[in-house]
C-alpha cells in the first residue's frame, strides 16, 4: 500500500501545550510535566515531590497529602483509597467535612482537585490536560472509575496508560535502551509485570500480568503482624483500630529504614507497653517471604506464557517504591538468570513516563506506545460460563465481533452479562455491566443471529454493541452501572466547561452541577413511561416544564441556576416517586400471588 508521511503539526516551542503526568498511587502520588522542552517534577507546598495519597475530612476542612503527616488526626485520614477501585467504589463509605456520605470516587475527585491546584501553583497558570497512570492489571471498571474521578475534578484525561508501560517509556527514552525488558512494578497497593520490546521510538508491550491487590501495604501489614506476635505475644487482630494503624505505620518506617541498614534497635509501643526491639533484615524477609514468592511466581508465569526465552530478555527493570526491598533483587537473580536495572528512581519514573507521553500526545511525536489488555473480556453464556471475546494480551485498540443466538422458541429478548477475567465460570469474574436486546423477531430457537461487538479503546475502556442482524434492533452500551453518566458524555461536559470557564473553582462547580443534572435527567428519562401512567396531566406538564428548564440551563455555565432547576425538578417529581414505590411494591406482591396459583 502507498503510504504518505504525516506532517507533524508546526508548533513553535513557545506555545507547546502542557499536559500533566499524574501517577495516582496507592500510598504516594507524583505529578510531573514537560514545559517547553524542559521536564520537571511538581512539588507541593512543603517542597515534596512524593505526595502521600491521604485525605482528611475534619471539622469543615479538607486536608491532603503532606498537610496531614504531622496532623493530630493523621489516623483518621483516608488511606489507600485507590484500593477501593477494584471493589465497589460507588458505595458511600466515607464522610466529608460536612458529614455528607461520599464514595471512593468522590474522595479521589477531591484528591485530584488538590493535585491540580498544586500543579497550577507550580506552573502559575491553569492546566486541564493530563495523562493518568493506572496499574496494568486494573480491570475496565477500575479504569473507568479513575477516569470519572478525574473528569469530576475538571481534568481532561487525554489517555490512561499502564504504570509499567509509562515506566518503560521514560526508561527507554532516558537511557536510549533497545531490546526486550521485563518491568517488575511493585507499588504501594498493586503489583504489575510487563514484558516490552523497545526499538527506535517503539514501545511495544508483549504481555502483562499482575495482582491488583498486592503491594507495599501488604508487606507493612504482614510485618506488623509478625512484630506484635513476636515481641508482645499479641495477635494483631486483637488490637483496636488505632493501635493497628500505629503499628502498621511503624512497620512501614522500619521497612524503609531496612533498605539502608541491616539491623538496628527501635522502641515499640503497643497498648501502652514499651519495648526496645531489634529490627533486622532477616526477620523482615522471613515475615514477608510468601508475598515476594507470589511476585516471583507471577513473573515466571508471564515469561512461560509468552514463549520468550529468558536469555532473550535484556533484564528486569525495577519500578515502584516497594521494589527497594533488598531481598527482591536477590530473589529475582536466584530465579531468573538475568540482569537487574535499578538505575531509575522507582518512585518517580512512572509519573515521568506519563508526562512525556502527554507532551507527545499534544505536541506530536514519532514515538509510538503500543499496549495490550491485561484481562480477557467476554459474555456469560448458558450454564454460567464465560465466552471470551477479547482474550488477554490482545493489543489495543481492539474490535471483535461474535454472533449469538436464542435458546428458546419465540424468544424476543436476550440478556447480555459482560464479564472480565480469566476464570471459566462467570461468577468468578468481574461483572462489568449487563443489558437487554429486545424486539428480536420471534423465531425458533437458534435461528436469530445477534451480532455482539466489543470495542476496547486505547484507554482500555470498553464499548459493547449488540445488533439483531435481521431487524436491525440495536442496543449500545458503554459499560456503565445503572443510571451513571456515560464516560463520553462526561468528557464532553468537561470539555465544554473548560472552554467557557472563567476561573478554576467556578469551572469545577459547573462541572459538578452539570454531571449531577445529567444523571438526574437520565434517571427521569428511564422512568418516562411510569410518569405518564401514574401522574395527573397537570403534574406531567409541570415535570416536562422543569425538565426543559433544566435542559436549557445546561447550555449555560450558571451553576446556581442549574442547581436551582435540579431542585425544582426534584420537587415536582416527589409525589411521582412515592407513587412509583407503591406501584413497584404492588407488582412484587402481584408476582408472588401468581406463583401461588
Amino acid at each position: 500500500m502507498n503510504l504518505i508521511k504525516i506532517k507533524e503539526p508546526m508548533s513553535s516551542k513557545n506555545d507547546a501545550k502542557i499536559c500533566l503526568g499524574i501517577d495516582f498511587g496507592t500510598t504516594n502520588s507524583v505529578c510531573s510535566v514537560k514545559v517547553e522542552d524542559k521536564f520537571q517534577f511538581i512539588v507541593d507546598e512543603k517542597g515534596e515531590t512524593l505526595i502521600p495519597t491521604l485525605i482528611l475530612y475534619n471539622k469543615k476542612t479538607k486536608k491532603f497529602g503532606n498537610q496531614i503527616i504531622k496532623d493530630e488526626n493523621y489516623f483518621n485520614s483516608i488511606f489507600s483509597v485507590k484500593r477501593n477501585f477494584t471493589k465497589d467504589f460507588q458505595k458511600k463509605i466515607f464522610e466529608d467535612e460536612n458529614d455528607n456520605k461520599i464514595s471512593s470516587i468522590e474522595v479521589s475527585k477531591d484528591f485530584f482537585v488538590y493535585l491540580k491546584n498544586v500543579c497550577e501553583k507550580n506552573l502559575n497558570h491553569n492546566v486541564f490536560d493530563c495523562v493518568i497512570t493506572v496499574p496494568a492489571y486494573f480491570d475496565e471498571k477500575a479504569r473507568s472509575g479513575i477516569m470519572r474521578a478525574a473528569f469530576m475534578a475538571g481534568l481532561r484525561v487525554r489517555r490512561l496508560i499502564n504504570e509499567p508501560t509509562a515506566a518503560a517509556f521514560a526508561y527507554g527514552l532516558e537511557k536510549k535502551k533497545k531490546g526486550i525488558f521485563f518491568v517488575y512494578d511493585l507499588g504501594g497497593g498493586t503489583f504489575d509485570v510487563s514484558l516490552l520490546k523497545l526499538s527506535n521510538g517503539i514501545f511495544k508491550v508483549i504481555a502483562t500480568s499482575g495482582d491488583p491487590n498486592l503491594g507495599g501495604d501488604d508487606f507493612d501489614n504482614l510485618y506488623a503482624k509478625w512484630l506484635v506476635k513476636k515481641f508482645f505475644k499479641i495477635q494483631f487482630d486483637e488490637l483496636d483500630k488505632r493501635e493497628r494503624l500505629k503499628l502498621v505505620k511503624n512497620s512501614k518506617l522500619f521497612k524503609e529504614k531496612l533498605t539502608h541498614s541491616a539491623s538496628f534497635y527501635e522502641e515499640l509501643k503497643v497498648n501502652g507497653c514499651i519495648k526496645k526491639v531489634e529490627i533486622n533484615t532477616k526477620d523482615f524477609n522471613k515475615s514477608v517471604e510468601k508475598l515476594i514468592d507470589r511476585t516471583i511466581k507471577i513473573s515466571a508465569e508471564l515469561l512461560n506464557e509468552v514463549d520468550v526465552e529468558i536469555n532473550k530478555v535484556n533484564g528486569f527493570v525495577l519500578v515502584g517504591g516497594s521494589s527497594r526491598i533488598k531481598c527482591i533483587s536477590k530473589k529475582i537473580k536466584e530465579n531468573f538468570e538475568t540482569k537487574i536495572f535499578d538505575d531509575v528512581n522507582p518512585d518517580l519514573v512512572v509519573s515521568k513516563g506519563a508526562a512525556l507521553h502527554g507532551y507527545e500526545l499534544l505536541n506530536g511525536s514519532d514515538n509510538v506506545l503500543l499496549d495490550v489488555t491485561p484481562l480477557s473480556l467476554g459474555i456469560e453464556t448458558m450454564g454460567g460460563l464465560m465466552e471470551k471475546i477479547i482474550s488477554r494480551n490482545t493489543p489495543i485498540p481492539a474490535i471483535k465481533e461474535q454472533t449469538f443466538t436464542t435458546h428458546e422458541n419465540g424468544q424476543t429478548a436476550l440478556k447480555f452479562l459482560i464479564l472480565q477475567g480469566e476464570r471459566e465460570t462467570s461468577s468468578n469474574n468481574r461483572k462489568l455491566g449487563e443489558f437487554i436486546l429486545s424486539n428480536i423477531r420471534p423465531k425458533p430457537a437458534g435461528i436469530p443471529r445477534i451480532k455482539v461487538m466489543f470495542s476496547l479503546d486505547a484507554d482500555g475502556i470498553l464499548f459493547v454493541t449488540a445488533t439483531d442482524e435481521e431487524t436491525g434492533a440495536e442496543n449500545k452500551l458503554s459499560v456503565k452501572t445503572n443510571h451513571e453518566l456515560d464516560l463520553n458524555d462526561m468528557r464532553k461536559i468537561v470539555e465544554s466547561s473548560i472552554e467557557n470557564a472563567k476561573d478554576d473553582i467556578h469551572q469545577r462547580m459547573v462541572i459538578e452541577a452539570k454531571v449531577k443534572a445529567k444523571i438526574f435527567l437520565n434517571e427521569i428519562e428511564s422512568v418516562k413511561k411510569d410518569i405518564e401512567l401514574l401522574c395527573s396531566v397537570n403534574d406531567i406538564k409541570l415535570i416536562e416544564k422543569n425538565i426543559n428548564l433544566l435542559k436549557s440551563s445546561l447550555q449555560t455555565n450558571d451553576c446556581d441556576m442549574i442547581n436551582q432547576n435540579i431542585e425544582k425538578l426534584n420537587k415536582s417529581t416527589e409525589s411521582f416517586a412515592q407513587k412509583k414505590i407503591e406501584k413497584d411494591f404492588s407488582e412484587v406482591i402481584g408476582k408472588d400471588v401468581d406463583k401461588i396459583d
Binding site: 504518505i4 506506545l369 474490535i399
Partner: protein, 194 residues
Amino acid sequence: MSVSPVCWNCQSAIPPNTFLCQKCNKIQPPKKIDEFKLFGIPEKFDLDLEELEIAYLKLQRLFHPDKYSQLSDQEIKYSTLLSSMINEAYQKLSSSISRASILLKLNGFNSHSEDQSFNDPEVLEEIMDIQNNFLEAENPEQKKNSIQKLNRKISETMNSLSTSFKKKEYEVANRLNIKLSYLKKIRIDFKKQL
C-alpha cells in the same frame, strides 16, 4: 461497477488500499482489505516475521489513536477502527495456523474450522502417542524431553505445510494445518502441567 471512494473532507478520490487522503492528508474510514495487502507484504506462508513487524509498526505509527487525540471525534473513531484492524491482522499473520487459514481462503479453498470432526487415523494415533509419552514421564526431566519431542513434531509439520503451499496442494495444506493446531493445543496443555 464499483465507484471508487472519495475523501470525506475534500472529495478527492482515494486510491485502493490507502487510508490517508493524498490531497488533504485526512484519515479515511477503513475498508475491508486482506491482511497481506494491508501490510504490503508478499502473500506466502514462509513469512519473514521481521518484515511483518516492521510493516506493522509503520502502520501503527501512522494510525494509532495517540496520533489523533487532538482531532475531531470522527477522525478519532476512524483511527480506532483502523488501528484495531491493523492489530488484528498482525495477530492473525503472526500465528502460523491463522496465516495458513488466510492463505487457504485467498486461494479459494474453504478451510475447515478446527472444531470440525477430524478423523485421520494416522494423525490421531500420532497425537495419542505424544500424549501417552507425556503422561508416562516420571520426572520433570522426562517431561521436558517429551515436550522437546513435540516441538520437533511441530517444526516437521510446519515444514510440510510450507512445502504443500509451495506446491499449491491446498487439500494437503488444510489437513496439515488442522494437525498443527492440535499439536499446538497439546503443547499449551503440557506446559500448564510442568
